[in-house]
Symmetry: none
Subunit: 217 residues, 2 copies
Amino acid sequence: MRTADGLSVRQDKILHYIEEFFAKHGYWPAIRDIQTDLKISSTSVVAYNLKALQEKGKINRQGKVSRGITLPKSLNPVVASTSHQVPLLGTITAGQPLPDPEQVDIGSAEKVEVPLDLATADKLKDVYALRVRGLSMIDALIDDGDIVLLRRQETANNGDMVAAMLVDENAVTLKKFYQEGLHIRLQPANSTMQPIFTTSDNVRIQGRVVGVLRSLF
Amino acid sequence: MRTADGLSVRQDKILHYIEEFFAKHGYWPAIRDIQTDLKISSTSVVAYNLKALQEKGKINRQGKVSRGITLPKSLNPVVASTSHQVPLLGTITAGQPLPDPEQVDIGSAEKVEVPLDLATADKLKDVYALRVRGLSMIDALIDDGDIVLLRRQETANNGDMVAAMLVDENAVTLKKFYQEGLHIRLQPANSTMQPIFTTSDNVRIQGRVVGVLRSLF
DNA sequence: CACTTGACAGCACAAGTGTTTGCTTGCTAT
DNA sequence: ATAGCAAGCAAACACTTGTGCTGTCAAGTG
């Protein structure tokens, strides 16, 4: 007898057992867990069926690794996630350059949850977050306390919202970037504000703004 | 040296390593994984620190079980539900009153993922999202295309950012709310803009703004 | 009938892995 | 000084667990 997925009854039971075991314990079962709880006579039978499940793409296995049976993320109801974490590297204030993400221990940094609506996971590479202090970014429609998401890059296309450092002023600002011949126009997002015109060598792009989160709770 | 959590540097590193290992592999690390990758001289040192982490409630352990180190669900960024879905009920444009959430079939509405950093789950009750069309909310630092999160309510405290309908003008606007005697002051979030003064009966509060999401991808 | 194949059994081995024991080090309080 | 203690080190030990045989058995298959 077969299930709809082309699995034998036993394989189906094993698959569900693996799911439930992980949901209950938080780690994966060993072959002998499956064996005893499902009252299978031999570990080799379990191994045999696990191999079948693996070939059918229902599970992943890491050879030789204890409890290395895993479910593909997309099939794992416990792990499937709709958001992604990016490191919160610090605070951005007018005048201070952005921290270099490579200088900071990303592993120990605070994390910010970013919904995948805002950005798909693969686009979140090299993205980090900064908390905004002060009102200096208000012409970019960014308030005190907002969290901005930045992707590290040193070039920009016209119209991109970038974190740009003005060398002369020693200030960082968030503006829309427009290259106009030898000059650069930095246009505030807020149309009631005036743009900045300056030369290329006075501008150093530190990253592109890819999102803003504001909590008013 | 200690981290903010009262963990030693080594314990902090181990904790983050466990997180990353699980995120990467889908199963938990063995003591020897931790040892070799963190270049710790002995397994017993790892065991020693794991015990400390366990006593501090940072990890759970199943004695004797291979790869039985787990993170409490609330601390596990991979498993913990760190975001929540709220219905996206439509579009807000200057002049149009907000849709009544009860009039819309919430079940079939589009959903927006909201990170719990922005709002804890229990506070997300009666919260819904609207997409902003046009620049009419620019003085509330909200751009065309932003998504605003609103909690349905008809009263407000001073200083709350609210969605207020001005009856005479038949317009909806997002402003900070201040009751001043019999009059009401609606103050833009953007200090370069001017407030609106009006009477109480000309203002109908439609909800409180609890968050803003902006994606620039 | 001989031959294959899928599924299961039993068992033992070796690798994977947690635990224990004894020893060293550096620091602090008595 | 000396005792106490947290933290680390090294090696051995013992349990846990995946894997590799060797068979059995029933159901095809030519």
